[in-house]
């Protein structure tokens, strides 16, 4: 069996989890395996949706002890489920929770682990993956030598595919809350906005934005296009009040949106590492020699303070 750790948000399965689930279904079909979707939480209402995306079995661990996320608590639960089901592969989306728990599960099971994979296959009965290394400056093919294989899938890479299956529901014991560490509260919840790593469209600003207040212009464009705002490290470091969570690059978020619009960003190697796998890249920069133009599908050479208002107008006209 291939088990997939799935995350719920507001009663819906998160898109990165659906991507992992769809990919698990594809692997299972090619190798005669079953797919199990596993959910954990105070409530897991909405888990049934997994049947539509290829889950033969839906495993539900529900109870007050799981209401607050715990790395060690969730790792124990997932490892126990892998063992109980005799699963050979565990997948999770490379979200903040997925990346937190998956290595811990792997260590508990003595399983090999590959993070942030962008390609998956079964080879000689074992998982074989492709994954970016050196922050996307190279790609490695990784073979597993362990009996159990654990991997996290990079968001926005794999397609979500509907594939209705039985989705037989099974309960798992939630267990006692004797955890070593738990999440006590979540501060400054980013008001419903999707995380950069999950966004389809990102409008990023760099030092060329001149000051933090000008990021409002980017917000307006992002809103008109249905995207979110990112930043270069120079913009984050400038003291403009832009949080590090918005930084794209080698020491920030590595993103693969459908559309990445870089505004006033030169295209330093560390920034490019974080966004070069975007499907389409647009650069707006007043310097025609800026390295960012080397990888941009479309470039506008000009003053962003003149270009952006026109783009906003055009975007509103297009969408409106």
């Amino acid at each position: 069996m291939i088990l997939v750790f799935c995350e719920l948000q507001d009663g819906k399965i998160r898109k990165p989890s659906l991507e992992a689930l769809s990919e698990a279904r594809r692997l299972a079909d090619g190798s005669g395996k079953q797919v199990g979707a596993i959910f954990a939480g105070g409530s897991v209402a909405g888990a049934e949706e997994a049947a539509a995306y290829g889950a033969d079995v839906i495993l539900k661990a529900e109870g007050p002890s799981l209401a607050a996320y715990s790395s060690d608590g969730y790792a124990r639960l997932l490892a126990d489920a892998v063992k109980a089901k005799g699963a050979s592969v565990l997948l999770a989306a490379a979200t903040s929770a997925g990346k937190d728990v998956a290595p811990r599960v792997a260590a508990r099971l003595g399983a090999g682990y590959a993070a942030d994979v962008t390609g998956l296959a079964m080879k000689d009965g074992k998982l074989q993956v492709q994954r970016p290394v050196y922050a996307g400056k190279a790609f490695a093919t990784v073979d597993f030598e362990s009996a159990i294989q654990v991997a996290t899938t990079r968001p926005n890479v794999f397609p979500v595919a509907q594939c209705p299956k039985a989705g037989a529901s099974e309960g798992l014991a939630a267990g006692a809350a004797d955890f070593k560490a738990v999440v006590k509260e979540i501060l400054a919840k980013a008001g419903g906005k999707v995380d950069l790593t999950e966004a389809d469209i990102i409008v990023s600003g760099g030092r060329g934005m001149k000051e933090g207040a000008n990021f409002k212009i980017l917000e307006e464009l992002a809103e008109a296009l249905g995207g979110v705002v990112g930043a270069s490290r120079a913009a984050v470091d400038a003291g403009w009040g832009i949080p590090h969570s918005m930084q794209v690059g080698q020491t920030g978020k590595v993103v693969s949106p459908t559309l990445y619009i870089a505004c006033g960003i030169s295209g330093a190697i560390q920034h490019v590492a974080g966004m070069s796998s975007s499907k389409v890249i647009v650069a707006i920069n007043k310097d025609p020699e800026a390295p960012i133009f080397k990888l941009a599908n479309y470039g506008i050479v000009g003053d962003l303070f003149e270009v952006l208002p026109e783009l906003i107008k055009a975007a509103k006209a297009l969408k409106g």
């Binding site: 792997a106 508990r108 979540i186 590090h244």
Partner: protein, 249 residues
């Protein structure tokens, strides 16, 4: 208090990656080696705790002879002890975690500090794995850390906002940018570090769980087109292209 800081030696972030002739690893020619950027925050946090509360800081790296450079640097910055755990790094995070866990076990560490991700292998895994192998609490991607009596409170970057994690010590903490601002080594520190020993121990023998079978460079992106004309015309043209040619809107 006793603190372990795990330091990985990695290629400078400016490095243009070239693949070695065997097609599986980085060609090390012309590579400048540095301490993995996030590990610098881990070391800085240990040094600040030492200054604030008193602590013994042990810097550890798993690798070969060359890794002594980053350990020497850790001594120059203020680490009390530096240990090279000799083993060949193959990019298997569980192998490194087992070697580090075997080293740390029974030595009475109250806190084990890691980078959240080692540049290069980019696994973001070794810290959590060591926590599991030693049965300890963990908090990853930490931007703020406070210690109590046998407890910790950490803030971490989660997808939905900043998560506040509370747990028991000993614990594994992996550092994220924002945790602190790392210091530079003073000339005095650098001179003193030259005289300090770097301990060497053999790494535990572990079996590989993953192996890189090939490494390739990503397909080059073709340079696209620069638009021309008046600004409003360019803006309209761009949106037209995004919608009709690239089909992303």
């Amino acid at each position: 208090m006793k603190i372990l800081v795990a330091l990985k030696q990695v290629p400078d972030t400016e490095t243009k990656i070239k693949v070695a002739a065997e097609g599986k690893s980085l060609d090390p020619a012309d590579v400048k080696w540095i301490t993995s950027p996030y590990d610098e925050y881990a070391l800085e946090e240990a040094l600040r705790l030492k200054e604030a509360k008193g602590a013994e800081v042990v810097a550890v790296s798993v690798g070969g002879e060359k890794a002594k450079d980053i350990l020497r640097n850790a001594l120059a910055l203020g680490a009390d002890q530096a240990v090279l755990v000799k083993a060949t790094e193959t990019g298997d995070p569980l192998a490194v975690a087992r070697i580090l866990a075997t080293f740390a076990e029974g030595k009475g560490f109250d806190l084990l500090l890691f980078g959240n991700k080692g540049f290069g292998a980019d696994n973001g895994a070794v810290g959590s794995m060591v926590a599991e192998l030693l049965g300890l609490a963990q908090a990853n991607l930490v931007t703020k850390l406070e210690l109590g009596e046998g407890t910790f409170r950490a803030e971490r970057e989660g997808d939905g906002g900043t998560e506040v994690i509370e747990g028991s010590l000993p614990a594994v903490i992996t550092a994220q940018r924002g945790l602190n601002e790392p210091r530079y080594a003073s000339l005095k520190g650098i001179m003193a570090a030259k005289k300090k020993p770097i301990e060497e121990v053999d790494g535990a023998i572990v079996t590989a769980t993953v192996r890189v079978s090939s490494m390739v460079l990503p397909p080059a992106r073709l340079e696209g087109r620069k638009l021309d004309g008046e600004v409003p015309a360019q803006a309209a043209a761009l949106l037209g292209l995004l919608k009709n040619e690239a089909k992303v809107l």
